[in-house]
């Protein structure tokens, strides 16, 4: 017995028992790594993450800090940045176009996002009733979400809501006269862009639909047996159980809408016209940074945007505790 086990331990025994699957030479080492829990795993993980870490440092975190620094300087790309302290922020306080862009953006976000989510929820509820052809309807309503951010659609909107556009032609056929050129009228231009954003309600709708699927059918059956009407079932079952999804959509759409740029740029010929009525915050930032090459001021605007979006998102999460329902436990 002992002799035999001694023999198996001799080095000569190793080639006599080749790895069964003719693996590459370092196979035994690999096996050991598997048995001892993951010695080299950390290093491997950093290898897998290397591109992301480099990107995070150079493309994301670096520029965030870079724009914080530049926001305290006067910088036009031609000469090195010159430290001016809080100068840019002081200018901002007295800059009427800054306030105008804030107002335009807030009106846009707080009108279009609730409308968009309301449409999305209403259509999702209508489609969740067990109708045939759900996939077809979902595709039809979803398509505008994919196209809505494109220049082509913004161009189309400019024609449709122009003085001689599709909308006015249709309204004239119905007997209306003295119609405004919607996109060139300061009272209506922003409204046309709000309509464009509402038109893209398809993507939150698809998320709502998936959420409605998760609500167990038996809740509704039980409620129906107890005599709850459709309205009662909606407010007591659907709405609370869907509230995490509503919250999710709300956060996503709020952040997304703050960043709208393309539609306003194309519809207003890149100037926020007429009379700055479509001067979105991002558009103003672009004009200062890449129109006037006032990079310091643009960076200050960028940081204020970051703060606004951050504070709003944080507020959203805080308020959510009072209305979002995450199950009984």
């Amino acid at each position: 017995m002992t002799e035999l086990s001694d023999e198996t331990r001799t080095p000569a025994a190793v080639p006599a028992h080749p790895p069964p699957r003719s693996a590459s030479p370092p196979a035994p080492a690999r096996r050991r790594r598997w048995r001892l829990p993951q010695v080299g795993e950390r290093k491997v993980a950093y290898l897998f993450l290397a591109p992301w870490f480099i990107g995070l440092a150079l493309i994301t975190i670096g520029p965030i800090l870079g724009s914080l620094y530049l926001s305290f300087t006067d910088y036009s790309l031609l000469a090195p940045p010159e430290w001016t302290g809080l100068d840019n922020y002081e200018r901002m306080v007295t800059d009427p176009r800054f306030y105008q862009s804030l107002q335009v953006t807030f009106v846009y976000v707080f009108v279009s996002v609730p409308l968009q989510l309301a449409f999305a929820l209403a259509l999702a509820l209508a489609l969740d009733k067990g109708l045939r052809g759900l996939a077809f309807y979902r595709s039809v309503y979803y398509l505008p979400s994919l196209l809505g951010a494109s220049v082509a659609i913004a161009v189309l909107w400019r024609q449709m809501f122009g003085a001689e556009g599709l909308i006015n032609a249709a309204l004239e056929n119905l007997g209306f006269t003295d119609l405004p050129g919607w996109v060139s009228d300061p009272d209506y231009a922003l409204g046309t862009i709000i309509i464009l954003n509402v038109w893209t309600f398809g993507s939150p709708m698809v998320i709502f639909l998936a959420g409605l699927r998760q609500i167990p059918q038996m809740y509704y059956e039980a409620a129906a047996i107890d005599g709850a009407g459709a309205l009662r079932r909606f407010f007591s079952i659907t709405l609370p159980l869907l509230s995490p999804i509503i919250f999710f959509n709300l956060v996503l759409q709020l952040i997304g809408s703050f960043q709208s740029f393309t539609q306003a740029f194309v519809i207003s010929s890149g100037r926020g016209s007429p009379a700055d009525s479509t001067l979105f915050y991002t558009l103003y930032l672009y004009l200062r940074g890449f129109g006037n090459f006032d990079m310091g001021y643009a960076s200050a605007l960028a940081w204020v945007l970051l703060l606004i979006v951050g504070v709003l998102t944080a507020a959203n999460f805080l308020v959510s505790r009072f209305w979002v329902f995450y199950g009984d436990d």
Partner: protein, 299 residues
């Protein structure tokens, strides 16, 4: 959150397509519901259909003609639109395809590598880095665009495609990392272990097990990258100022930029050309798109 259930993209998954609820025979209320839904759908799509029809109409008919039909359908707008800008339109399409192709390759490679690490490997501060990754999804690009421009200007990359492609190779589209992490978590770990016993290292497991098993997530990533990059305007506008390098959106915008009368016929024709690939991808990849947004809330 219900929508971010791991593995929702994977395997049979939840049934998102067939009607639910008590199957009642289609009485009159059903017909009415269908009628309303179809009418509303038509209303929503009417601008698109009208643009398509108008792109085949002579210019003077586009004005004050809300209808679709014309006696004089013609392809003339396409011929004119193709050469109306300083460069023929296929140059812009080619430029867009270069940017889109590079972005797809970058996102597929870099995001799946990072996703494997987050889904399968242990490393220090993993939770922290994961939170950072999620945070970057929310970050508005406008916050970082100025320093990025400065950086790329110093590398002499303005008026090249590099500023649009290199960030994707560095996994800055964190959406897709998240999407793939969710997906990879749904792949049974037994498969990894079987491969490990067979002598695979982490790269072997990644390449031979995870990547082939993740094709639905990779397809979703590729389709969304295509659509977003093809539509993207802001960064292309900023980094490409040379008309030879204009992509489709940047070129299209110059049509309506000038103060002169916009030639709507050719503009609509080229708009249709620019939307056609998205529409094609939408038809081909609907399943992936719907699962993709249902899983992660992408647009």
């Amino acid at each position: 959150m219900a929508t971010t259930e791991p593995g929702e993209l994977h395997g049979p998954g939840p049934d998102l397509d067939s009607p639910r609820g008590l199957a009642r025979p289609g009485g009159r209320p059903r017909v009415l519901a269908h009628l309303c839904l179809i009418l509303f759908g038509l209303l929503m799509l009417y601008p698109l259909i009208w643009m398509l029809a108008s792109s085949f109409k002579p210019g003077e008919e586009i004005f004050s003609q809300p209808g679709l039909w014309s006696e004089n359908f013609t392809a003339q707008n396409y011929v004119e639109g193709w050469t109306a800008l300083p460069r023929p339109f296929h140059i812009y399409i080619l430029n867009s395809l270069i940017v889109v192709g590079g972005s797809i390759v970058g996102n597929l490679l870099a995001c799946s590598l990072a996703a494997y690490a987050f889904a399968r490997l242990e490393f220090r501060f993993k939770r922290f880095w994961f939170a950072v990754m999620l945070g970057t999804i929310m970050l508005p690009i406008h916050v970082v665009i100025v320093p990025q421009y400065v950086l790329f200007a110093q590398l002499d990359w303005i008026n090249t495609f590099w500023p649009l492609i290199v960030p994707k190779l560095l996994a800055t589209d964190a959406f897709f990392i998240f999407l793939m992490v969710q997906f990879i978590r749904g792949i049974p770990k037994e498969l990894d272990e079987a491969a490990r016993i067979d002598g695979c290292g982490h790269f072997g497991i990644f390449w031979r097990i995870i990547i082939p098993m993740s094709t639905p997530a990779l397809a979703t990533t590729a389709i969304f990258t295509f659509i977003w990059t093809w539509n993207d305007f802001f960064s292309q506008l900023i980094f490409l100022a040379d008309p030879d390098l204009y992509t489709v959106p940047v070129a299209l915008r110059t049509f309506v930029d000038s103060n002169t009368q916009t030639p709507w016929g050719p503009v609509f024709a080229m708009s249709v050309v620019s939307l056609a690939p998205i529409f094609g991808f939408f038809l081909a990849g609907q399943r992936y798109l719907v699962r993709g947004i249902a899983t992660t809330g992408l647009k």
